[in-house]
């Protein structure tokens, strides 16, 4: 299943529900466009809900890093929500678990943006 991303607003946070695969090619491109689109609207607090991500490869991991850097450079924050075990393990192996702010509960994740700003 290729990537699908739906965007919703919760308070000041833009939540992107991602499902399917985040892999090299169209999937990564699509995720990049969604995130850049939100930045263009000045939505700088993004929460990526990865609960339904079935597969992520090294390019998909790179896309998350790219999004993190782009948002941080604009003074915003990118946080991750509901990692599957596979994604969790990959972020641990690549030591990115220490880079991203990762949450398992949406309400807590949303309130953490307010606490940081």
């Amino acid at each position: 299943m290729s990537l699908k991303a739906t965007v919703r607003q919760v308070d000041s946070v833009t939540v992107v529900d991602v499902s399917g695969r985040i892999t090299l090619g169209e999937d990564c491109k699509q995720l990049r466009e969604v995130i850049r689109g939100q930045l263009a609207k000045n939505h700088k607090n993004l929460l990526l809900n990865l609960a339904d991500v079935t597969y992520i490869d090294s390019s998909g991991i790179g896309e998350l890093v790219s999004a993190y850097t782009a948002i941080s450079n604009q003074g915003g924050q990118l946080k991750l929500l509901n990692l599957t075990k596979k994604v969790h393990d990959l972020l641990q192996i690549t030591k990115l678990y220490t880079v991203f702010d990762i949450h398992n509960d949406e309400a807590t994740a949303i309130s953490s943006f307010a606490a940081a700003s």
Binding site: T23, D57, S58, S59, V65, T69, L90, T94, K95
Partner: protein, 161 residues
């Protein structure tokens, strides 16, 4: 590894859609070889990353160039060969993606993950004949510990770029 092997061989055109074909074959082979879901996922990811490297970096997405994929199923493990028709690369020249200064690099994690997920890994390159990645996953964890654990480099003529 034990001497008798079943062999699954396939040749794929250098098209991105064929990465999923390779993954599907990998899943079937892993099941046949008796790997559990976690090891099968690791093997699938290693195949995914090496086939992508072969298509994008090796064959430069030239559909006239092929990627050869060979699975040798042994009693105690699985050996996988991925060959492209490109110019080769030196895995030793790749920056460490988990070094602090490289953590925010967008690329450079593919081969690192393959090495993490497979027990043995080797790259062979020779002028004019492309690059072949050979990787091994042991089925019996006892064998892994007897041979020095995971992520051991294969002996032999490892490549330069």
């Amino acid at each position: 590894m034990k001497s008798k092997a079943s062999i699954v061989e396939v040749t794929l055109e250098s098209r991105v859609k064929n990465v999923e074909v390779a993954e599907e074959i990998s899943r079937g082979v892993s099941e046949t070889a008796g790997f559990g879901p976690e090891a099968a996922f690791q093997i699938e990811m290693a195949v995914h990353e090496t086939v992508i490297n072969a298509i994008y970096h090796g064959n430069q997405q030239d559909p006239r160039k092929n990627v050869s994929l060979k699975f040798l199923i042994f009693e105690d493990g699985l050996e996988i060969h991925v060959r492209d028709e490109g110019m080769g690369f030196d895995p030793g020249s790749l920056p460490d993606p988990v070094a602090k200064e490289n953590l925010l690099n967008v690329s450079g994690r593919g081969i690192f993950l393959v090495r993490k997920f497979m027990d043995e890994f080797k790259v062979e390159t020779s002028a004019g004949s492309g690059t072949e990645v050979i990787m091994v996953k042991h089925r019996n964890p006892k064998i892994e510990s007897n041979q020095g654990g995971a992520n051991r480099e294969l002996e032999g003529n490892s490549a330069s770029g």
